[in-house]
Symmetry: D2
Subunit: 145 residues, 4 copies
């Protein structure tokens, strides 16, 4: 895959840095390539559910951001991304010292981009896929906050 917009990586990082939610959750950018974004997050008890695992909504935040920014790398400079919908499956408790969120573009269209992603828990040298996501992302123009 090629970038449609050569400045898209710089732009993606700038938009990422404007997300209060990512800072609050301690999620940072680990790698960006055309159509693929990897994020990372250390374990933090302030993001846990009542068994001490990371809350499913936080795991989803990381996977959704990875997918949305992966979609953004394929869009022209005037387009913004909005998540239309996603579905997440949780196959193992989100337990580990740190977490990796991978988002990838499956099909990039003019209006809609289909993406897939996963959350990987890292516990010492062991890596476990704890959740998956499929997200539909829409390109919008002229969006105002």
């Amino acid at each position: 895959m090629d970038y449609r917009n050569p400045h898209s990586v710089a732009r993606m990082r700038a938009e990422f840095d404007r997300q209060g939610a990512m800072a609050t959750m301690g999620i940072t950018v680990a790698d960006v390539a055309p159509g693929r974004v990897v994020l990372e997050m250390p374990f933090n008890p302030a993001l846990s559910q009542h068994h001490g695992f990371i809350h499913a909504g936080v795991v989803t935040s990381g996977m959704d951001s990875a997918c949305g920014f992966a979609a953004l790398t394929m869009m022209d400079a005037e387009s913004e991304v909005l998540t239309v919908e996603f579905k997440c499956s949780f196959m193992s408790p989100a337990r580990g010292q740190s977490f990796r969120f991978v988002g990838e573009v499956i099909k990039s269209g003019r209006t809609l981009t289909f993406t897939e992603g996963r959350a990987i828990a890292i516990d010492g040298t062991k890596e476990t896929t704890v959740a998956t996501i499929t997200a539909t992302v829409m390109a919008v123009r002229g969006l105002k906050a």
Copy 2:
């Protein structure tokens, strides 16, 4: 609907209070009834995405918790709830002074409980449904963190 477990509301509130993620996001319990839980959250820029709306993952955290705790109210005292999967649709930007998350049990089975929920943005006197969720929740016993 009746509670299967008369202590389930007290238990639900105790488990809710053990969730670091809910405290971090400022989400609190507004109302609990058998098979139905309502949560609330004020707007907080520390939970925003890059357009200044509440991040989809945070909206999802509120909806997932409302659904999971609604399922918990219908379970016996030995069961814990784990989210198996959910799907969320985002029909409007999550913009408002505060947000309400409603979770309801659609069908409660021995192993699986089907739930539905929604996120409502409150802007002055105007209320807008900004997202919906359908979540499948599993009853588990003997879960250890």
Copy 3:
């Protein structure tokens, strides 16, 4: 809700009649209103899975068509509908003499329409919701087969 296109019901019925799949499955239109479509189907062993219930894919066909045609009633005369994605939950076996599929528009946008629906099994005088759907439908123009 009002129809955006006064001819939309006639058009919806004409398009429905061109669906080979609906004829093969014995699914017919029971009721049409702006943003809401009801379909019906008798039980047919030729549409069963291996326990003798109606196959989940057939139940889905009915729910998806009800949602897609409900979306079509809200669109202008030049737009066609395509299903972008859906999620279905199956809470009870699809067992009964006949089935009703209800599709409703939750939010109708210029490009995307959010819909919800359900499948109801009718067994004598007893009605049971056996499945639910949330479907995202896209308006497209100039689509050619």
Copy 4:
């Protein structure tokens, strides 16, 4: 992956042959391996939607069956499979001379099995992924029709 039940392939084929829906849709078994099932279907106008493509519900039937039978290959001899829920995305019109449906087990648990699948349209020598599915399948015992 190993089969949990050495007779599972013979059993899977026997159960498949009892599905009226698969015969009606002309869907047959192309390949079975532990945790992976491939089905095939020729184009048939009796299964079309109103643009002449294969109906999304029929595509879903093929993907759901591939996933459910893939899950069945990993279960013990007493367990039956029931689809709990699935989500399907449709990225291209289902247009082609024939179709292949692939279902794979992502994680097989005692109660729940997580699966993923896809539908591939074959048009001459060109193959296109037209849809994807993620399905949650439950093992049940003592199910009666």
